[in-house]
Amino acid sequence: MASELIMKYMREEHLPHIWCPGCGHGILMRDVAQAVKNLGIDQEKVCLVSGIGCASRAAGYMDFQTMHTTHGRAIAFATGVKMARPDLEVIVIAGDGDVAAIGGNHLIHAARRNIGITVIVFNNDIYGMTGGQYSPTTPTGEFGTTAPYGNIDRPFDIAVLAAAAGASYVAKGTAYHAQQTIKLIEDGLRHKGFSLIDCAGICATYYGRKNKKGSAVDMMKYQRDNTITFEQAKTMSREERSGKFILGKLVEDDFPEFSDEYQKIIDRLKEAKK
């Protein structure tokens, strides 16, 4: 029988999910559900918005108000939702291609505005849904179906990108470190402004196979043995950091939240009218 968590937060009739065996997305989706449960957030008040890609399919499985939108645009849709209904807990689940390539502009501007939505990136360094093309997070030198001679692009670090754009909460989790990642998502949900948790997933089917990373279990073990903290990363050279995953918080700061600031304008105008 399914666990209590699944019964409550997943749409059982739409399971099993379409993700490949060994995919990290199922673990990350469970982490999101667990974080919502731990915080006791009213299920009716959660609006989950996603775009297009493997990660975005989570919207169909999770039992919240869900909107499965267009490629890259989830954050922009979520911005409209949050402005119209600031009382909702607005969560975006997005993949690396979705949020950092086609949707990169929405990401940086939502971070700059500090609008109160929580973005959880299921980052597997590849376009999985379309069959393994290199993404903006695929490391240089790795392979994809559109990088048959090795990727010459330099990858984004989505967390560093969001932080540079002004996000007030930024963290990195991994599929392997579920307990820590749940905690990081909880803190992101609790955070008042824009928050982003960049979670390293695992794509054994495309990324793993194309780059000879072994089985899903091998990739999971690699993630376990090669995860460092931001503090450790600071002391390492670029070469030493290559191939490492980071776990922890990069930014946790307090800036005015956008919809709150807008409400102040409405209140001020109302007051002036009296």
Binding site: Q43, Q65, H68, T69, V81, A84, H109, I265
Partner: protein, 376 residues
């Protein structure tokens, strides 16, 4: 109380939209529609609504759909290049049946074109701009007071038929300033979205009740949780690969408009009853045509005009019903012949002439007079 003020077309759109219940606007600066964003930024917080300037046109379109999905009447405004960028998400609104109003103040193109010059060259983009088969409603105002009245109608039709409605303006009307009378006591029909009531269909967001053409709303964010997707979906709102269900969905999206043409389509006809020549025009072009027709009537010429107020669906029934006296039709529009194609499709037994302009200048009354006088 009656109140007569001088107002610009773009400003009247905002006042009408607020009257219709608009409480969210997302936009991006672009000539010649920018005043709509500026005025929304001023007016919306005054009525407890929200304005946001998004990072781009695509994001603006996404944000208005998001806001409408959680129950807030929403609008965006743009012009040619921005209208092109909005197309993908307009398709999303068609597929998910989220009511939104998109104002396109047309300017000269293609590409950046002549940003401050009038044009009507987005007529076909309004109909076919987003990919896939879909229905659409487009309305074109000819005066400042019509900007006010017809934007209310645009919101009403969007809510009633759960569809994006394109408010197809042009630079002529957008930047026109003229007197407009507001009457506080006048009754204005405002249509609100129909809500689900039958408990057995509450969990089926896209179930259509008997006698309805569109699913009733159950708002995201309230007591029932459901899914919205741009993928083909059944009444339960979840993705499906079932060809029969997908076919039924697209058919219903087409039929909900096609089956209600009499409710949706509006035209204006003047002096057509005994006319030998009828000029087909819309939007700002009507103003030159009206002037030309008056001049020609004074000379004893039997001329009238036919104006689609609803551009899409095209008023083919009304156009076909022109009296037998009409021997010639002249289409006047600020493009290379877009509505002309529709007129040619509908009218088979009369001579059809054309007056078009693509250089960013306005068709003058004398150019229309000349075209009518040259008809053999």
């Amino acid at each position: 109380m009656k109140n007569r003020v001088l107002m610009q077309g773009n400003e009247a759109v905002v006042e009408g939209a607020i009257k219709a219940g608009m409480r969210f606007f997302a936009g991006y600066p672009i000539t010649p529609s920018t005043e709509i964003a500026e005025q929304s930024a001023v007016r919306l917080p005054q009525v407890g609504g929200h304005f946001i300037q998004m990072e781009d046109e695509i994001g603006s379109m996404a944000a208005v759909i998001g806001a409408s999905a959680v129950g807030t009447k929403s609008m965006t405004a743009t012009s040619g290049p921005g209208f092109s960028l909005k197309q993908e998400n307009i398709g999303y609104a068609c597929m998910t049946e989220i009511p939104v109003v998109i104002v396109d103040v047309q300017r000269s193109g293609p590409s950046t074109g002549l940003p401050t010059s009038p044009s009507q060259s987005d007529v076909m983009q309004a109909r076919w701009g987003t990919h896939g088969d879909h229905s659409i409603i487009a309305i074109s105002p000819s005066s400042v007071s019509e900007c006010y009245n017809l934007i209310i109608r645009a919101f009403n039709l969007a809510e009633k038929y759960r569809t994006p409605v394109i408010f197809l303006m042009d630079e002529i009307v957008g930047h026109l300033r003229e007197g407009i009378e507001f009457d506080d006591e006048a009754e204005v029909e405002i249509i609100e979205r129909k809500m689900k009531q039958r408990p057995d269909t509450l969990h089926l967001p896209y179930h259509v009740c008997e006698g309805d053409d569109v699913p009733r709303f159950h708002l995201t964010g309230y007591d029932i949780r459901y899914n919205i997707t741009g993928l083909a979906h059944g009444p339960d709102g979840f993705p499906t690969n079932n060809n029969e269900v997908a076919g039924q969905l697209v058919t219903r999206l087409m039929k909900k408009i096609e089956n209600n043409i009499d409710d949706i389509v509006e035209v204006e006809e003047k002096f057509c009853d005994d006319a030998e020549t009828v000029i087909v025009c819309y939007g700002g072009t009507k103003r030159s045509v009206m002037s030309a027709v008056e001049e020609l009537r004074a000379k004893g010429k039997k001329v009238g005009y036919f104006r689609p107020i609803t551009i899409w669906p095209f008023p083919e029934k009304q156009l076909s019903a022109l009296p037998k006296s009409v021997k010639n039709i002249i289409v006047a529009e600020h493009n290379y012949g877009q509505i002309l194609l529709e007129v040619e499709r509908v009218i088979k037994d009369r001579k059809i002439g054309f007056v078009g302009k693509v250089d960013g200048t306005v068709i003058t009354p004398s150019e229309i007079v000349k075209a009518v006088e040259e008809v053999k």
